[in-house]
Every structure is written in C-alpha cells, then in structure tokens.
C-alpha cells in the first residue's frame, strides 16, 4: 500500500494523477478462512483490521451482502460522543472516542474527525436534573462534560433561540467538547484499505444465506451466494439484519429492527459550529463540512426492514428545529433516507459469545452505533481472537437478558426514540 501524504499528492500532481492505486482489492473468496466477519460496515471492517493489526490474524474475510459501508455506516448522522451514564457504556464509548482521536493517523486515512462539541439542550427541571446527573457521573469517571447556562449555550451556538418567550424555552445545556463528527464513508473506506493491505479479503455482493454447523454444534462456515466458505470462527456484525443472520445459526437475539431517518439540507456557508440535540422536543442537528445541515429524525414505532420511514417522523423533528433555530425556517431540505437500526430492550449493545461455539455477535447498537465504530471494532476483534470479551466490553453479553443484569441506558439515544 502506498501511503497517503503531502508528497504523494505532489508526486501525483506532477503526473496527472495516474499513479493512485485501488484502495482495496476485491478477491474471489478462498475455500476457508480462520475468521469470517458477516457485514462490511465500519464495525465489521474495523474488527477485521484490528484482528490483523493487534492479534496477527490475517486469514480473515469480511462478507457483505451489498456494498461496503452501504448500510448504517453510510446512513447515520456521524455524531461522536461518550457522555453516557453507566460505567459499562462509558467504558466502551470512551474507549471509542480515544481511538477516534488518533484514527486518521492510525489508518493513514483522513476520517475528518472534528471535535466540535456536542450540546444537549435542557428545557425543563427534569432535563436539568438528568443532565447534571450525567455530567457528574461522566466527570467522576474522567470524561469531559459540562453544564452551560442559556447565555453560555447561545455564545457557543449563535443561531440558538434562548428567548424566554420561545415556544421551547431553554434553561441550560450539557456540552461535551471532545464530542463531534467524522466523515462516515471515510471510516469504512479507511478501515477497508488498511485491512486489505494486511491481507484481509473484503467480499462484496455476496450474501450469507446460511450458517453451517458441525456435529457438536460448532460453526463450520457460511453458505453464501458465492458458495460455501469455511471458517472456525464467525463474527456477526450485521446491524439491522443481525436477527436474520443469527437465526441461521438457530440463535434468537432480543432485537427489534426499525427504520431511523436522517435528512440533509441544501449546502449553506458555515453557520452551525457544533452538534445540538434536544431530547425533549426531538431536534438533532449539525452542519457537515460540505455545508449541509445534517438532521437526525426518529425511529418509526413498528418493526420494519424498509429503508425508508414515515413522513410524520421527519416533519416532527423539523418542527422542533424551526422553533429552536428560527434562522433555518426557510432552508430547503435536499435528501432524506432511512437505515435499519437493531434495538435491544435495554438500549445497550450486545457484544459477546453465543450459545453456538465459534459464533460471536456484535449487534444491538440501535440508533447510536457510528460513534462506537472504532471501540466496538477493536473490542470485537479481541473477543474473536481470544474467545472471551475484553474487560471494557464484559458487561455487554447476550446472557444479560437471562441473568437480568441489564444496562438500562436511557442516554443511548440522546433523543427519544
């Protein structure tokens, strides 16, 4: 792999950009691998990368039904933060945030991580008490999060309406300054390039149709649209389709899949300096480096695998945004789409072993999986390599729904879903 650098750009500028090589290869699958990962999103590609980099396991295939990064990795609103309430959550999201900080250098790929701050608006006494509880829990755990008065919030986000006569008055806000955004496509591409460079096979347009198991129940490999591919270990990281893939191995997981929508406006000049979300009135907005306002809407109430969603869901969030930021009332929306999120009963992810030997699962990230990408991938690689969870992910087991040790993380969605 030729490294990207200012010298590479200069060299290619001199010769009409004819020397750039493909970022990853698209090989035909081998008959067997040491590890197969189902799903080439950020979590799956990242896990393959860390398997190769940190655990020396390079005979790995990442199998993807569609195209690389075409699921939720390319459909989210790109928000990164770690201001969760419980230790199990703070552990994994803070691990992730620390990896975000060095990810571009690690991958030699600009993922455009931008710690511009994530602000959560408080509208009433309940919000204030809840946010201050989160702030205190975070600070005691060494995670930055601070309380702002309405005036301080306005100074940080000038378009914000803090008038007492506003329809949704604000009595303060919580701000995590290290939170921010990153370019989601670049995350998938960067991991794919770095993994491919270390010998990982990325097999796109290849759907897993079954999981073959041996006499003792252990996994033998996967049936795919390109034939059977053997593996002693299989990691399922299939987001909204995790139930479908796990069912192939006879494992039921406590998930329900719902569409989550997002939309972007026409591009504007830089006007919105950070990420703002309001749980109470469901507003969720930031501005991309291209200039589009990126707006996250809610989930539909019913199970669905249609990557669309109801119009009333997006109008609801636009109502709130127009009230909080009157300056945006005449902005035109340009595109809208949906992704299928896999939600657990306690709104915390599942990462761990399963009752099937050799089968590992990473799912249930629900509406907040993007921010966890590097951390989740890193710990999932550890799980697959060692056969047992890393200390930081030890609480995220599938077994917790039997033992009752739930992680009831109301902050998992910073806006109510």
């Amino acid at each position: 792999m030729r490294r990207y650098s200012v010298f590479a750009v200069a060299r290619e500028a001199m010769r009409a950009h004819k020397g750039w090589e493909a970022q990853w290869t698209s090989p035909e699958p081998r008959s067997a691998y040491d590890v197969i990962i189902v799903g080439a999103g950020g979590h799956g590609l990242g896990a393959a990368y860390y398997l190769a980099k940190e655990h020396g396991i390079t005979n790995v295939a990442v199998i993807e039904k569609g195209w690389l990064g075409g699921g939720n990795t390319g459909r989210n609103t790109t928000i990164i933060r770690s201001n969760y309430l419980y230790e199990e959550s703070m552990d994994i999201y803070e691990h992730s945030l620390k990896l975000w900080e060095g990810l571009s250098q690690d991958l030699n790929y600009n993922v455009m991580y931008s710690p511009r701050g994530v602000m959560m608006l408080s509208h009433n006494t309940h919000d204030m008490q809840s946010f201050k509880r989160h702030i205190n829990a975070n600070r005691l755990y060494g995670i930055d999060n601070e309380w702002l008065t309405p005036e301080q919030a306005k100074a940080y986000v000038p378009p914000l309406d803090i008038a007492k006569t506003a329809r949704y008055p604000i009595n303060g806000a919580a701000l995590q300054r290290r939170g921010g955004t990153a370019r989601h496509d670049a995350v998938a591409w960067g991991y794919a390039r770095a993994a491919s460079d270390r010998g990982v096979h990325i097999i796109q347009n290849c759907e897993v149709t079954g999981i073959r198991r041996g006499p003792n129940g252990q996994v033998l490999g996967v049936e795919t649209s390109k034939g059977f591919i053997g593996a002693k270990k299989i990691g399922v990281s299939a987001a909204g389709h995790s139930s479908v893939v796990m069912e192939m191995a006879g494992v039921r997981v406590p998930l329900h899949s719902t569409p989550l929508q997002a939309l972007v406006s026409e591009p504007l000049k830089p006007i919105f300096p950070c990420v703002v979300m309001s749980n109470t009135v469901h507003a969720y907005i930031s501005q991309s480096d291209k200039g589009e306002l990126v707006i996250g809407a809610g989930t539909d109430q019913y199970n669905s695998y249609s990557q669309t969603g109801g119009l009333q869901i997006i109008t609801h969030t636009l109502d709130a945004i127009c009230e909080l930021f009157p300056i945006f009332r005449r902005v035109k929306m340009m595109r809208q789409w949906g992704g299928i999120t896999d939600n657990t009963p306690d709104r915390s992810p599942i990462q761990g072993v399963t009752p099937v030997p050799g089968l590992f699962v990473n799912c249930g990230w629900g509406t907040g999986g993007f921010k966890a990408t590097p951390g989740s991938a890193n710990l999932f690689a550890h799980l697959i390599a060692k056969g047992e969870p890393h200390r930081l992910a030890a609480g995220l087991t599938l077994d917790r729904f039997r033992t009752g040790r739930l992680i009831d993380e109301a902050a998992a969605a910073a806006v109510a879903h």
């Binding site: 406590p254 109430q301 695998y305 729904f401």
Partner: protein, 113 residues
C-alpha cells in the same frame, strides 16, 4: 405514514391514531414465578423480528382504544390483514422476504390499503 384498518371501528385510519404494541400471540406463562431464567428471557425479551411476514399487536389508542392483531410484511410495510384480539392467528402463506426494499413513497402508494 401507514393507513391501518381497525377491525373494531371497521375503518382505515391514519397511523397517528395507533400505537405499535409488539409481537402478537405471546402467551404469558401461567405461573411466572415457577419458570426458569431461560424461559423468562424467552417470554420477556426474545422476539422473532421477522424479515417478511410478521404478526404484531396494535392499539387504536386515539380511536376506540382497543388492542388488535395484524399480519404485515416488514419489507414493504404492507398490512396483509388485521383481526380482533383473541382470534386465532390468521395463517397466511409465507411469501419470504423479498430482498428488494421499498425505496420511495410512490412505490407503495398504490397498495397502501
């Protein structure tokens, strides 16, 4: 937004009047304190989450207020039938999930009913 036929009101009404209420035909164990942890997890947390034909409960919360059951395709979101609570599962042929997800509103507009 979906149009949903309430079997009690016998009318097609907007989804805004309804609340989704999870998978249908799950029987609460007769003696819940006697079952094992595995059985409780199965009853309380584990769901089918089908891609394709699914049976689910809805409540006409801003209408008659009653619960009823529905059979729906989770790929197209199309309702196949709705029926009153307490009626047996309305067995429909499993068509299998079509891989083609519905990308536009126009594509489903014609058969929303």
């Amino acid at each position: 937004m979906l149009l949903i036929h309430c079997p009690y009101c016998e009318e097609d009404r907007s989804e805004l009047e309804f609340r989704w209420a999870g998978e249908a035909h799950i029987a609460r164990p007769e003696n819940i304190s006697a079952i094992s942890d595995e059985e409780f997890a199965e009853y309380f947390f584990l769901r089918n989450n089908e891609k394709g034909l699914t049976y689910e409960r809805w409540r006409h919360i801003h209408g008659c207020g009653r619960f009823f059951n529905a059979a729906r395709d989770t790929v197209s979101d199309r309702f196949l039938t709705t029926y009153k609570a307490g009626m047996p599962k309305q067995l429909l042929p499993e068509t299998g999930a079509s891989e083609k997800t519905v990308e536009t509103y126009e594509a489903t507009e014609g058969d929303a009913r």
